[in-house]
């Protein structure tokens, strides 16, 4: 299983490195959105709930660009068939795709979060980053699990570009709520507490539930 996941992940990252179809688009979208917010709100800085909302909605929509592209090369170039013909555990593809999406999200956030700090955020990032990192990791796991599941379903339909976001966004609303609530206390000028524990627990529970659902149903999504 580990060898198969490794092979799929290596292929996934190689294809992305060669095509640059996902990560640059996701990053550019996020940075552009922050610039638009900067001018549209007519504010130099935001903090608290407002900052958390802007950050997480932007990251969510940027993530959707990656989710939509996740299985496109496999569907268009026969990679699905080649994988289905191999004597391997099909869950390996779920794991490899989810890890790849996690990697894309990590790169996106390496670019988008500093840009957010520079363009909009009132408190310095250095003050919020260690605690915000925990929220980012938990939210990314949820986005990766749900995104992979939905992408596998949507890619087999003709309206995959429309169906992916339509299915994913309602499922990801709890992730955005949890992540925004957990990070809101971190994004104020004089924050003295860490992220709210109950929202972190909610995110972790949601990750676990959707991780298990994805594990249980992924095989059936690949079946004829």
């Amino acid at each position: 299983m580990r060898r198969t996941v490794g092979a799929l992940l290596r292929k996934e990252l190689l294809v992305e490195l060669r095509t640059l179809e996902s990560v640059p688009g996701m990053s550019l979208f996020a940075v552009t959105t922050f610039v638009v917010f900067h001018f549209a709100l007519n504010q130099n800085t935001v903090s608290g709930d407002e900052a958390a909302g802007i950050l997480w909605v932007t990251l969510l929509f940027a993530a959707m660009l990656g989710v939509n592209r996740l299985f496109v090369a496999d569907q268009d170039q026969g990679g699905f068939d080649a994988f289905l013909l191999a004597p391997v555990d099909r869950t390996a593809m779920l794991l490899a795709k989810a890890i790849a999406l996690l990697a894309y999200l990590a790169v996106l956030e390496l670019i988008a979060v500093p840009a957010f700090g520079l363009l909009l955020l009132a408190p310095p990032l250095s003050q919020t980053m260690p605690d915000l990192l925990v929220v980012l990791v938990l939210a990314d796991i949820g986005i990766a699990a749900i995104g992979t599941l939905v992408a596998a379903l949507a890619v087999q339909t003709r309206a995959r570009d429309l169906l992916g976001p339509l299915l994913a966004l309602p499922l990801l609303v709890p992730v955005v709520i949890g992540a925004a609530r957990a990070s809101s206390p971190l994004l104020v000028l004089t924050h003295s507490s860490g992220p709210q524990g109950r929202w972190l627990a909610t995110l972790a529970l949601y990750d676990l539930v959707f991780g298990l659902i994805a594990y249980a149903v992924f095989d059936f999504l690949l079946e004829d």
């Binding site: 170039q77 289905l84 004597p87």
Partner: protein
């Protein structure tokens, strides 16, 4: 090796394969003829376990489908219209990816690249190779894991005569593998066949030993 009894496969309401029955022994070659849309590719995809039969009994490599499809995967080599290779990756990267999926020694990749005369172009992205070269890489991919059963959908399209000769030890009669080939070439197809299946609108229009079939009967299928 392959036993079909009343195989039915539908796409929505339309029956792509209807009541197809045949038997193929190990080491034999079945060549399937028929006009476009007759069900040739569907038949190959059912045998490859990529499509589920909707009715009838299907046994491939002595395993019943779809229940025992897991035991058939990895023992079948499929060469279809698509190369099943990633255009952005090189031939070597693609074959190494497949070798890892089939748990093979990576040495096998170099052997296959040499066998299809792609060693010199093995490190170029597939999108920069000609269609014939991509087809040769696809032959290497389909035979990398030394499959017992080859499912070949018009395998010699895009190949020049020299390339056909080159891949013959891998997918030709010399390979000594059981083969199911779809073809539009009456004389070339008959030369490969032990058993001939003619399909028209998903139904069996012809099923006979190759020695009892003439090219004119194949041509008739297309009228």
């Amino acid at each position: 090796m392959i036993e079909l009894e009343g195989l039915v496969r539908r796409y929505g309401e339309r029956e792509a394969l209807s009541d197809v029955s045949l038997s193929l022994q190990a080491g034999q070659t079945l060549v399937v003829f028929g006009p476009n849309g007759a069900g040739k590719t569907t038949l190959l995809r059912v045998l490859a376990t990529l499509l589920r039969p909707h009715d009838g009994e299907v046994t491939v490599l002595d395993r019943r489908l779809p229940d025992e499809a897991w035991a058939v995967r990895g023992r079948v080599g499929l060469l279809g219209h698509e190369s099943l290779l990633y255009r952005e990756l090189t031939a070597r990267e693609n074959l190494r990816f497949h070798a890892r999926l089939h748990d093979l020694d990576l040495q096998r990749v170099d052997e296959l690249l040499a066998a299809v005369a792609l060693t010199d172009r093995a490190d170029e992205p597939l999108k920069s190779l000609s269609r014939g070269m991509v087809q040769r890489a696809a032959v290497a991919r389909a035979t990398l894991h030394d499959p017992e059963l080859l499912l070949l959908d018009e395998p010699f399209s895009n190949l020049d005569p020299a390339a056909v000769e080159l891949v013959a030890p891998l997918i030709g009669a010399e390979s000594k593998r059981t083969r199911v080939i779809s073809s539009h070439d009456p004389s070339g197809g008959l030369a490969q066949a032990d058993l001939v299946l003619g399909l028209r609108d998903g139904r069996v229009a012809l099923l006979r030993a190759a020695t009892d079939v003439g090219p004119e009967e194949i041509v008739e299928l297309y009228r």
